[in-house]
Amino acid sequence: MDGADICELSLTDLSKLLAARELSSSEAVSAALARLERLEGRLNAFITVLRERALATAKKADEEIARGNYRGALHGAPVTIKDMFETAGVRTTGGSKILADWVPETDSALVERLNVAGAIIVGKTNLDEFGHGGTSTLSHFGPVHNPWNVERIAGGSSGGSAAAVASGIGPLSYGTETGSSVRRPASYCGITGFKPTFGIISRHGSFRGAWSQDHVGLFARSVKDLTLGLDPVAGFDSRDPASVHQEQPTYTARLDANVKGLRVGVLRRFLDAVNSEVRQAFDAALKILAGAGCELIDLDVPEVSYAAMTSMMTSSAESAGINRRWFRERHQDFVPHVSRGIAAGMTITASEYLIVQRARHRIREALRATYERVDIIASPTTARVAPLLSDGIKGNGDDTRHASYNHSNLLRFPSMLGIPGCSVPCGINMEGMPIGMQLIGGWFADQTVLNVAFAYQSTTDWHTRRPTLLGR
């Protein structure tokens, strides 16, 4: 098997080969690094590449597996992480000039758990500065390019992670989401992205964007691979105040494509703003879910119209609080658009923040009642495919500050409320760009979300389509 074939393996297949010693971790890691080095000049998906360290760790993994100490599905597998997670002895920048040379002494909780699982981190991915953005163009290290068309954005803020997985640079990447930073780039890059319920994965040792909305999430090419990456990193951590007590995670073992009888809600009034090709792909995806035995239910939850502005105001105020000190001392070192956003956030008063939280509670209660009627809410992940880089931050077309039926409300409400969401590829438009559908569950209905996504991928092949950029 040559390097290109290795890069195309799913994590499911790769881990079987590693466990059986039919493929070595050194070969898998070398293949990922070779692809990274071949494509990085066009993608700019990485801030730091850990070539020597990854190869040395892979060699150790091979020795352990040879001795019969196989630790599980991630053992010896090449993975990437967003440069939001602290890594002991390796610089951790947050995509910012301010921390361009900062080397932490300790690992984040995510990295600790990846190390225990035996995963090999080959690189730290590019992002919007400290997660503040939806394009991955607001990085001190330059914009991330979309592997489906390098003139388009990868989406953000975890754009480097999404571009890496879409390009076959490791089958799995970990990112963070405060507004839509996992689901949006997953949709734009034609891969599968999952953000679990608030508190399922520890955020200890990762930078805060807005603490009441920050989540750790992950990217893979299929739902099955996602669950293999989720099981080892989920679980209680007393160092994260949001962390929840939970049983030993068994998302992979409980993955079940039988979703007959599940109720899938559709918020139709929000679909008016959706591009026609995206709408067609979504309608076709709904038919697949209906064919799998799901009951489709039209919903009307007008409170969701206020989700984008509520989420944005919460983010602005919290990020201003988090960055206040750095901003006063070094505001000129922030990426200009991020700097302006923090400045605007610093003018929000405490009483205004509380009013926003009151509005957030009203939306939460409306969704709590909604999830008594349905198991899942389905929608297009984004209203249109990845915009051109030349359109800048306006290209996303987000208008988060108007109580209209704009699409940002659908993207924003899951993170604001802490409920699980998964974006799966559901089509390709006439320009060859991927389209995504998101499946949103109620609180702690993570397994239901994953099962519906799994059922969808069991009867469709959109998640197997690959960017033409890759070649061999």
Partner: protein, 62 residues
């Protein structure tokens, strides 16, 4: 209070930070938006309970 006064009042919160005229113009426009959004959300959230986010120390039991 006029809009310009409200904007000036908020910009005063950034005192001591030297911002370019272009930055100030952008921030002022954000502030105008913010005023409107807060008013809309205040109206929207009328009659909703005020939530408490009091947290207990980790591991605390009754």
């Amino acid at each position: 209070m006029k809009n310009t006064e409200k904007v000036a009042q908020r910009l005063a919160l950034l005192e001591g930070i030297s911002l370019s005229p272009a930055d100030l113009e952008w921030i002022a426009s954000e502030i105008e938006d913010l005023e409107r959004v807060v008013a809309e959300l205040e109206e929207f959230s009328q009659d909703t309970v005020w939530i408490s986010l009091q947290a207990q120390p980790a591991g605390k039991k009754a």
